[in-house]
Symmetry: D2
Subunit: 340 residues, 4 copies
């Protein structure tokens, strides 16, 4: 009954097989091997556009690298106050940008309030030398409360931001879960919604360590600089083929969406079961594989006593995360314990 | 006949097996799993001392993180002019330290000249506010010309550096090759020779992506800050167990030394064969798995025509690198081609 | 009728005289002259404590240097959302700290709400590697709305901050105006209220360009590092005697307090006169030399037509600033125009 | 007999008068006053070209700001190993660029050896992601050994640098002394010789604290970013008119050149007198106001005993600096003492 995080899950066997398969003979290092190129080509099909891709081994690295080419050191990044880049990356964006400022925005369910965005764009001007101008907008989708922005909600953010000249970054640490839950295509959930750059995460959805920064055509001319920053940050791993191999297996035959659909279904089952219990309240809509729920103390204690693993969030709610490896039996066991 | 780099080699099967073996069930993320702890305990035995270890996925990350806790932004790092940290990491040390200065030192065969070190320590004082004071010394062993410093040579550098208060970093990207070639113990080649921190690399010697920063007791109190910097740099990967698994297999039964010995033996065979050819001159002693050799143009062309892969170094020599996966047949084939 | 800013005022003649007086013969450069030492000694008397002082030429430099020794790159600075360091310094604190995070706090009249401070100290923990820990608190007094914190209000902020191990910085760009208005002694308004470092500004109160960073005993051991950072930031001006000369004249005979008292009196007269006009509302208490006032459009237009200079603040209020050089006639003329 | 540095000299009375003259009434702050504009217009005449100017209060600030717009964090600056930016600014260029690398070049008399420059441009390529590419060349003229590059010598450096796409910075801390000694026009000694940016220093030649960064047309489009960086570094002083006033007086009637000519003449007299003494050897040609001389110990002791102030340089020579305020009597007194 481990619902601590999708990062505590193992890797899917198909990805290990792919690594083993990639392990024959010599290959050019630092991303110059045919497998890396093949994954880039595959992503162009998946996203229905030209693009450039660069692999990393952590979402924090992807996000910080992405922001470092969207925002100069003397600019600001707008994001939700609960954004992973603001709360959970130990200042990685500030580090990689050379000291840019993060301006946190409010909004229910960790979704940026469009009115707050507009007000901030107005009160932090682009052309006053004393004030740090917003240069990038970062949107997490799925977000940190497990919620999905709709296409319309994304447009309400990226439109005003782009009108002021900001670059737009989407943090897609759980991008597959978003697609599986929303029915949006990869294109609809990224560049068609205004993203210039996407952090595409596979680690939380079946990989050992495989993340990607995807540059859409609007910023593809920055790829050389991005590679320089990747190298300089120690993220140009020597034997890149093993990262690419994970992506190839993950994308093949829709595995990424199948794994995400399973995780989402487990989370939905959890949410349905828990919210039917008296005194238990869902804190946020469950749009993906995360369930945030206000648990009576007695229930929480019972669950922990039964061996259920989950985190208490800073706002007092319990976070339970399902993953590709969550079994229906685990969910049932937790619900049985909660009902007891 | 791929002698381009030890990073073009595949991973050793035992390490893949270890990853597969680690892939069962849930594990705490970010380095808090039992396997990571087990490797730290194993390294204490290997290095015959208390220590703290932190895993990364690239040597550049290890080096830059290590230097970031030895040298403040307003200090300087002394290293050889050919050092990897100076020439081949796109300014990673400058980035991670927040703008420290690297001061390159001369010396034959990529070994720092002790007299140059002493002169620099004298001409860049510790206590003159206008001048950047050296705060760290970084020594690569094996170094960038494939040469080993002896214990005495190391002492001639680390002694004066420590007398001025500098911290000492050893870049052990090819540490196993050093041990295999020199007969030094891990302790003799690290803390007993003056190192406060060691970058210990496995990727060039059989791993997929496994590197470690080892803090010896003199700097173990900086471990918390190092973890903060690791996180902030995007190098605290979520599923750390897979990095630890590689190290465990690598260290088990002396595999790391066996692989390194094989690579060294292949390099020695290469060096012996090539240097016996008229007009071919070794540029540096071959103390590990790298051979630097001045090839007559005709020989170089013949080799390339025969399909041999190797790099021409900036100084005009050819660099040929053997790895754990180099076969004696490959060496023989190259030598046959060269003699033709 | 120039009420744009106290930075548009000229310098007081006594300070120019002091510069001229300091202009005889040779003097050691970079702050090593007797005049600099004399000012430090004088400040020890003024602040009734041992201290170290370092001169700069801008408040932004003072603030950013001060924060750079209180907060590491991987830490956070807590400040009010309206703080000059957050809104008006183009990211200087992020630059000087190497990418620390500023966390903005709410509170009426630009005063940090103690409950918000406590909540933030709890939700941004000190010991969780993924989250940036607050390491410094910065309090502007007088603040950006022209308001003074009382000793009790300061204690309610610095107490909890220090209990968590944070360093405390006071931004005293208008410190003399604070003292003149509140009756607090320099000691009461600084180290006795919890400050480890004070940015002491003279430029807005009669100097040409004279600012100081004052280290109280709790952080005096960081003076050497602060000097290194001052040099590295280009703020160790060669002929420092001219900055020190300004401070000496400013402090002599209580001139600093006289000038501030005059400015405060002019602001009070402005505030009294304006608030007596129908439809005009003071936005904040007037505790120093700044008046923030909601003006009916007609009044604002009349004033501008009459040649009054003042800024419209982002919140829609008008800011009128008095300085040492504001004449009562100017105030009267503005009030006459407003009443018309 | 103070020959320690031109920074120990007082300011010229005409510059103090100009400050006093600028001290009437209100003026727009932060460089937006008419006096600042007037100086920019005047500099356009002086340099016979369009340009943009930005004032600072230290040469270190000017140099570091200039380099921060020529060189990205992932690039390198080429300079002489003795360059002030490398040896005497505590890493300011590394700080302001966000961690760019300085690559020191050799050459006699602190002049960059053109062959070394070319070799470095070749061995540090522009397009290899692992290696930091040179992006800027910085040339001090007068340089740190008091020597002048001729127009031809400058072309031999800036030509190859520009051919590789580097930006070119000239450090003109003693630019007036260069002009006075060489007969070059300001244009010939700057943009006509390949400079994109010039640090123009007045502080060493009569000012209290007045330095400028001059952007020539090739980089004028970067002025907005430069201002942002100036603000962010705390170098946009509030009452900028007082810096501009110094420049105006300095440039009026050729005062800057008169003061420099005097200093140069005093240095020449010093050099002539000293080199006529048995056992005394000039270490470098005396092209400006600095004399580097190898003194027999007995002579050095005699001079110090007689009250002469000068520094012993790291290479063992004595450095004696003349300034606008050096009197012929002082020179004579020193020579008399040396001959004794």
């Amino acid at each position: 009954m481990n619902f601590l995080s999708d990062t505590t899950a193992a890797a899917h066997p198909a990805l290990l097989d792919a690594i083993a398969h990639a392990n024959g003979g010599y290959a050019a290092s630092y991303g110059n091997d045919p497998l890396c190129q093949r994954v880039e080509d595959r992503l162009k099909e998946v996203f229905e556009t030209d693009l450039k891709v660069l692999f990393t081994v952590s979402g924090t690295a992807s996000n910080a690298l992405a922001l470092s080419i969207l925002c100069p050191s003397h600019g600001a990044v707008l994001c939700h106050d609960e954004a992973h880049i603001h709360r959970d990356e130990r200042g990685a964006p500030e580090f990689f940008t050379g000291g840019a400022k993060l301006i946190p925005l409010p909004g229910a369910h960790a979704k940026i309030d469009p009115a707050a965005l507009t007000a901030t764009l107005n009160s932090w001007p682009q052309d006053f030398v004393h004030t740090t101008p917003p240069r990038a907008l970062s949107v997490s989708n799925l977000n940190e409360s497990g919620c999905a922005y709709t296409a319309g909600e994304l447009a309400a953010l990226t439109g005003p931001a782009k009108a002021k000249g900001l670059g737009v970054h989407f943090d897609g640490a759980r991008f597959a879960n978003l697609l599986a839950g929303s029915g949006m295509t990869p294109a609809q959930a990224s560049w068609k919604a205004g993203a210039d750059i996407l952090s595409l995460g596979a680690t939380k959805n079946g990989a050992l360590a495989a993340e990607a920064v995807i540059l859409f055509p609007s910023v593809m001319d920055r790829y050389g600089e991005l590679q320089a920053r990747q190298k300089r940050a120690g993220h140009m791993v020597a034997k890149m083929r093993y990262v690419a191999a994970q992506f190839e297996a993950w994308l093949t035959g829709g595995l990424w969406l199948d794994l995400a659909s399973h995780a989402n279904a487990m989370a939905a089952r959890l949410a349905d079961g828990l919210s039917a219990i008296e005194g238990v309240e869902l804190a946020h809509p469950v749009d993906g594989n995360e369930v945030f729920v206000a648990l009576p103390d007695a229930v929480a204690q019972t669950l922990r006593a039964a061996g259920a693993g989950f985190y208490q969030w800073p706002d007092g709610t319990a976070r339970l995360v399902a993953s590709w490896s969550t079994r229906e039996d685990d969910v049932n066991a937790l619900l049985d314990a909660a009902r007891a």
